[in-house]
Amino acid sequence: MLRAGRAPHILSVSELAQLLRSALDAGVGTVWVAGEISNLKRPASGHLYFTLKDDRTQLGAVMFRSAAQVLVFQPADGMDVVVRARADLYPARGALQLYVEAMEPRGLGALTLAFEQLKARLGAEGLFADARKRPLPRWPRAVGIVTALHGAAIHDMRTVLARRWPAAAVVLRPVRVQGRGAAREIAAGIEDLNRLADVDVVIIGRGGGSLEDLWAFNEEVVARAIAASTVPVVSAVGHEVDFTIADFVADARAPTPTAAAALVVPDQAEVVGALARAEAGLRGALARRVGQARERLVTLDSRLGDPARRLRDLTLRVDDLGARADRALMRRLAWDRRELAALGARLERGGPPARLRGAREQLDAAMGRLRFAAAMRVRHARAALERTAAQLDALSPLACLERGYAIVRRGDAAGPVVSDAAALRAGETVALVFARSRARARVEDTEG
């Protein structure tokens, strides 16, 4: 009911809302408030909508994109957070809302929480799986390094690379390794080095520092760049105790930049040693192979025989047999002669002339038989010698003589066989024994 005269000041809804907003601004302003996130929504706009509540009350909250995108961790339902917010009325719906400017997780630090969240997410995606890890090349042509141009990390790596394996080129892609934008630079560095044909492995790293200092290596953009790299990536961030997301995604993790450098190249001292061993192996193997061949040659040679030596052997055997045959024949003839003489003597001693005629006749007959017998013996002996000679002939040196060789004997045809001109003197007479004939010759000169 409106009464005349006491007309109150009537506000429009908008005016009231404006009053409330001013009252809130003046009476509450910006506050820090702790609560639990629920009913979180993240539409395409990038703004975050959620309810902040405790066990008795809940308030709607919005975090605009500009503020939400600098969060390192992902807010989620059920998360206890502390927010810096301004309480205000959302005029279109008349709802009281918290306009959140900043957010921190309670308990854990924001970075620690972000690290755990990203690790869990990428792990679930399989980015850390052992099956994804590529082996490092044994002999990289060039080593790509993504790190700060100035600093201990690059210095340490260059020192180790130069000492261990100067054969590999070093390509440094200088980047900022901390601060805003560092992660994007590191990711771009990995991509750029991947475009160089001779870079066979990439090291990303920096020296030690606080969690904030190392933060770039915990960002998703770096993790994605490592996963997308076509060449293996070695992560070497901080000191032994520092682990980063990059360490988990990388194909190999080194505790320090120095260790990373040692990991990606062979040690030339070892390689030189291996080369020396290879050469020794080659020499040993060849020596054994040649030894084998020589042994085989000796065996073959002995089986084949030396033709000249064989001819000499056979010649000696022929000579020996011939001499033995001669001696045997002479002995036989001498014996026969002695028998004959003895017989004659006995006849002469035998007595009176009366018996002489008969005796002479007897003697003549005996002499005739004796001659015949002796002649037969000689013939037999000669035949035996000829048979032997024929056998020898079949065995060889005579066959050689048939082909035009001659045997040289010292003095005459019965002299010793000469097999070395050194045994002869100039002016000496030698016999040349051909297959069926002989010749005498005089030595003019010797040489050799």
Binding site: L149, P166, V171, D192, V271, L282, R288
Partner: protein
Amino acid sequence: MAEEAPRFEEALAELEGLVQRLEKGELPLEESLAAFERGVNLVRHLTQRLAEVEQRVEVLLKTEAGRLIRRPLEDEEQ
């Protein structure tokens, strides 16, 4: 970057193969000799390459247009 000589890796693999074949002793003598000579040449070549090589250190820069440039890293930049 053109490859001026056979890659170290390839030369080393060839060397290992030669040593193995020679050690088996199955090669004819003539081929053994050839394998030995080739092997010793490889050892010389590789050892010499290691002894002579000086590390090339380059810096990779990107132009505004996104083009990559490699140039030797001057030590005063460090």
